[in-house]
């Protein structure tokens, strides 16, 4: 299988602080890689660097074999980004936001018009799509950003805190949607504090501490590395390793 995302020696400084320190990781088609780690460990910085919101100081990021620094437009076309804060312009409607995102990703108007009703059905949002964004609850805002990231059918999904603010049913729908996405050949990089999400859907988990990816592996492999029993939970692994 070919690597959709490949990160080599990624390093990012904020003034003199090394926020991300020499990160290497690879996600292949159908893969879900979860990054877990304490607050300020660099999870969001990694996601933002891949999404093109931050510029790395060292290292390479390639998506589908293309370098993000040299081919920013082509690589961004293959990314769907779900930020940690689902903030958009307060005075546009959810439907307009989906139209806007489709247009920005070069989708045809007819395709957008066809896809939006289908997208709205996923989270049962039909009926509120013409309300202004500022009137939505935190959870509904999050749902619209998830839909916007999936609308143009990207290859790689970058998800920063995926289920914050979602009710249990919607959280389950989101997780199923992510799993379906990878079954259709996509790949996901997920940064989260919610260890249950990481355990439920990830094939590989990376533990990040002070900008360094200190260990990676499946949940089972991490338990072995942490020398914990079979019944141990990810929380115990996390506590042991960070």
């Amino acid at each position: 299988m070919s690597a959709i995302l490949k990160i080599t020696n990624l390093t990012k400084y904020f003034n003199s602080i090394k926020a991300v320190n020499n990160i290497n990781l690879k996600i292949e088609e159908g893969g879900i890689f979860s990054i877990i780690g304490p607050n300020g460990s660099g999870k969001t910085t990694i996601i933002k660097s891949i999404a093109g919101l931050l510029r790395q100081d060292k290292g390479n990021i390639t998506i589908n074999g293309l370098d993000t620094t040299h081919h920013p437009i082509k690589t961004k076309s293959n990314i769907g980004y779900i930020p940690d804060k689902p903030e958009i312009w307060s005075s546009i409607t959810g439907e307009e936001f989906l139209y806007l995102m489709g247009s920005l990703y070069g989708m045809k108007k007819e395709t957008i018009q066809k896809n939006i009703p289908l997208s709205l059905k996923i989270f049962n949002l039909a009926g509120i799509e013409k309300n202004y964004y500022e009137d939505y609850s935190r959870g509904n805002k999050q749902k619209f950003t998830i839909l916007s990231a999936l609308l143009h059918q990207p290859k790689l999904l970058l998800v920063d805190e995926p289920i914050v603010g979602l009710d249990p049913v919607s959280a389950e729908i989101a997780q199923n949607k992510f799993l379906n996405f990878t079954k259709n050949g996509g790949a996901i990089l997920l940064a989260t504090h919610d260890l249950s999400v990481a355990t439920n859907i990830s094939k590989t988990i990376g533990v990040l501490s002070q900008g360094k990816l200190i260990t990676t592996g499946s949940f089972k492999e991490l338990k072995n590395k942490a020398k914990l029993s079979k019944n141990a939970k990810l929380k115990d692994v996390y506590k042991k390793l960070t």
Binding site: A51, L54, K76, P83, I92, E129
Partner: protein, 561 residues
Amino acid sequence: MIKLLLRYQLQKIKKIFLSRKTAKLIVLACFIAIFTGLGVAVYFFFVKGFSYIQSYPFFAQAVTLYSYEVYLLFIFLLIAISSFISSLFSLFKKEKNDWLLATPSYKILPGVVLVNAFFASLWPLIIIVLPSLLAAHSVFGLKLIPLLVSLLSIVFLTIFATSLMLLAILITGRMLQGLSSLINKNFLNLKNLAICLLIFVFFGGILIWHQNFSIDLISLFNAQDLQTSESVVSRISENFTYSPTHPVAKAIFEFQAGNVIGGYYYTTIMFLMTIIVLSFLWLATEWFLPIWQKLQEGLFTARTKIKNKNTKKDSFIWGKNVSTTLLKKEFLVSSRNTRGLLWFGFLMFIWMIQVGVNLMLSKNIAKYSINIDLFPIIAYILQFLTGIFFISAFVLRFVFPCFSMEKDTSWILSSSPMKKSKIFWSKLLFYLPLFLTIGILIGYTNLLILNLSLTASVITFILFFSTIIFIVVLGLSLGAIFPNFETDDPSVLSTSLPGIGFTIGSLSYGSIGAWLLFQNLTANIFWPICLFLILSFIGTIWLIYIALYFLKHMEFIKNKF
């Protein structure tokens, strides 16, 4: 609680100087320098003006009183409208007040907003009122104690104006709430509240205009009968009797005329008016919490079956490509930004006052066949400079902060597959035609009373247009080169170091243009204007080039200067 809030305000000021101390000290120094410079300029302007008035004994008293009335009314309107906009959003829109509204001391918020609005309104006192009173002290011999009491009466006027607007907001909110209960349909939302208050301000403005300015100046001053000077002052005084600023104007006038008791009498009236409004405001704070609670409600969307009440046929259809989509996004976001539209209306309102004065003068000139050649060329230049000032104010408020205001939404554009330069072009294509249209309006109305030849009019227009293009590009480029993602408040962004840089740059540039126009009109020298236009063109291209370079390397994170 008050101590805690005051300490919080002090901490906020201290926090400003914790990071990038040098830059912020430079900003502070620039501010002090600009304020002092403006204050000194205003002082000399008034000294010159008062001396001129005094040289015509027949008109001296009448013109002085008329100037005070008009001048204070203008300041009152400035304070009232800016307080209205800032208070409306500070009272109901700021989510960070939730914690305060959850405490038993929630009633303190209108008080805090009032204090903030009052302090924010102090700048006209420092820059305009104090220098003008000092000028009155120099020219008319206004003594120190009367001067201080006059200043105090203007402080009362400021409190009166800010508290009156807060009271109007609460009363309107209460009325909308009452109407909602009466016919069982919710009318109380921020949009309706703003519209009702705008109608209130609009009709208030018309009333003030009709009462005080739709007058024949020649008749008012009785200029055709130079034998009857005594009755002119009382006629002007009567004309402004119902103006809220009348007691202050009369207080200063009486002090100046040596009538100390009269001065104290009018100051006391102003004080009592302020106390009355404050008392009503205190009573109206009872209504604050229910209004606030209602305005925090979003749309109830927890139900699975919701009838879509939005009757719009379709959502806004986005453009065929990225550029037109971005352009439409600018239009949509700007046209639905209530706060931005209110500030836009406020600036237009100030400009309309200037237009109104022009129309009043032109009406009087036409009526009495006054020789228009009496208008000195400097009047043309002042009109040109006024136009530049308004365009700069618009650009500073709307164009300069537009990149920084993308703070929370920057992830959308910067993670999308497009060149960042397209963001710049879409903003330029949105704002430039808008300001050129405003420029045509300003230029045309300013030329209404001027008897310029066709050639001079064309030159003025070309110069004005090129200046507008340069100023818009300057504002947009500086905003792109120095984005500030620490705040998305345009008023804070406008007072940052790059914001001050823009103000100085645009006004200096406009002043050079005005000086060249003066040279052209007086000495018929044309080539400096041509050189100015060529340099403007080169400067515009260079600014765009630099802005696009910086945008290409921009990171959307905080603490970037």
